[in-house]
């Protein structure tokens, strides 16, 4: 296992060490190890999530392309309303036929697991004085002393013994992780998704799980994880929240409550400025799909101007 993941140890430790020396310019070459290493972990998250942005944009694009398929989808729902299996089958066939699939796909989540595991190993290596990748020698010694709000980056809740500060920080991070996951999902359910008949039920079930099951999962796993891993986890959650918040505000899914809000806002603004209201599917945003798909053949699209974008904030 270790040898397969070796390149990942190098990658993870390289990003961390690079950030560490970068922050050395800001905080000084010596000292301030705590803030330098904490920010290095956050930097690792940011690098990773920036790499993943194209995937996210791709998914948003295919979701928007669905507007064109809306009539077909309604037809399928009506035709097979008593047979959910057939309904899902036909829906998937439709997506495939039109070469657009709004779903996020399963692989990326699993692909993140090795990276997470590599970070876990590298940070554990700091605690146990085992060098991994580029994190060795003096750097390893320096990292061993780094703290996050007084809790050692490589300490865990369970291994911290009587160190109350580590326990406090761990609990705070676990609470933070639970809260961000919950808010992210809630925001998506309430504002970001097209209204469906079954959504109420699903939403309740989901919220129950988010409220009770996830904190338990986070707590059970979190007490075994080094503080550094928890920082990674919290930051990535926060990023997900921000990313989704941005998309829901600026480029919501057609048919979702957020989309209607945006259309309303634009209509009001347009009537103020005397422009024609644009009711097409192109709620403008920076991650707007390139409009070369079927969406455009039906409706004339108005190019959103810079000025409009600014005011929408």
């Amino acid at each position: 296992m270790g040898s397969i993941l070796n390149p990942l140890y190098y990658a993870v430790s390289w990003v961390m060490v690079t950030f560490h020396s970068f922050f050395g310019f800001i905080f000084g070459k010596d000292g301030h190890e705590s803030i330098k290493w904490s920010l290095s972990i956050i930097g690792l998250v940011i690098v990773l999530r920036i790499i993943l942005i194209p995937l996210f944009v791709k998914q948003i694009k295919s979701q928007r392309a669905l507007t064109a398929l809306q009539p077909h989808m309604k037809e399928i729902q009506k035709k097979y309303k008593d047979d959910r299996q057939k309904q899902s089958e036909e829906m998937m066939k439709l997506y495939k036929e039109h070469k657009t699939n709004p779903l996020a796909s399963c692989f990326p989540i699993l692909a993140q697991a090795p990276i997470f595991f590599a970070l876990f190993t590298v940070l554990n290596g700091i605690a146990r004085d085992v060098p991994h990748g580029f994190l060795k020698g003096d750097l390893l010694n320096a990292a061993q002393k780094a703290e996050f709000f007084g809790a050692n980056l490589s300490s865990t809740f369970l291994s911290s013994g009587t160190n109350g500060q580590t326990k406090l920080v761990t609990i705070a991070l676990i609470v933070f992780m639970s809260a961000t996951t919950f808010t992210t999902q809630r925001q998506l359910m309430v504002k970001g998704m097209p209204k469906m008949d079954s959504s109420n039920n699903m939403m309740l079930q989901q919220q129950k799980i988010m409220l009770y099951v996830f904190p338990v999962i986070f707590a059970v796993t979190g007490v075994n994880f080094p503080v550094g891993v928890l920082i990674y986890w919290s930051t990535t959650n926060l990023w997900t929240f921000g990313q989704q918040f941005y998309v829901i505000k600026r480029n919501p899914t057609p048919g979702s409550p957020a989309y209607e809000e945006l259309i309303k806002k634009r209509a009001i603004k347009n009537s103020e400025t005397g422009e024609l209201p644009s009711m097409d599917g192109s709620a403008a945003g920076d991650v707007n799909p390139d409009q070369d798909d079927e969406t455009n053949q039906q409706k004339q699209r108005q190019q959103p101007s810079k000025k409009k974008k600014k005011k929408k904030k």
Partner: protein, 81 residues
């Protein structure tokens, strides 16, 4: 061994997956596929499931993809909804 796998997948389906909403590009979903594949083919089913998950990537267009039964080569439709 099969039991452990199906227990784990069922736990995932019951408690973890709903929180993230539907995300699989295929029908039936990767987890249902894995459940059926491991039930029907054992260790080979694990490989089949792994391949299915790799196929379920951002560049794929998804589609309908059932596990075929060993004997009759008919699609296994249990657990799919």
């Amino acid at each position: 061994m099969r039991k452990i796998f199906s227990k784990a997948i069922k736990f995932y389906q019951r408690w973890i997956s709903p929180a993230f909403g539907p995300r699989c590009k295929y029908y039936p979903s990767c987890s249902t596929y894995a459940l059926n594949a491991i039930e029907e083919y054992g260790a080979k089913g694990i490989v089949m499931s792994a391949w299915r998950i790799i196929k379920c990537n951002p560049w794929s267009h998804g589609g309908v993809d059932y596990v075929l039964s060993k004997n009759s080569k008919q699609p296994i439709k249990t657990g799919a909804n």
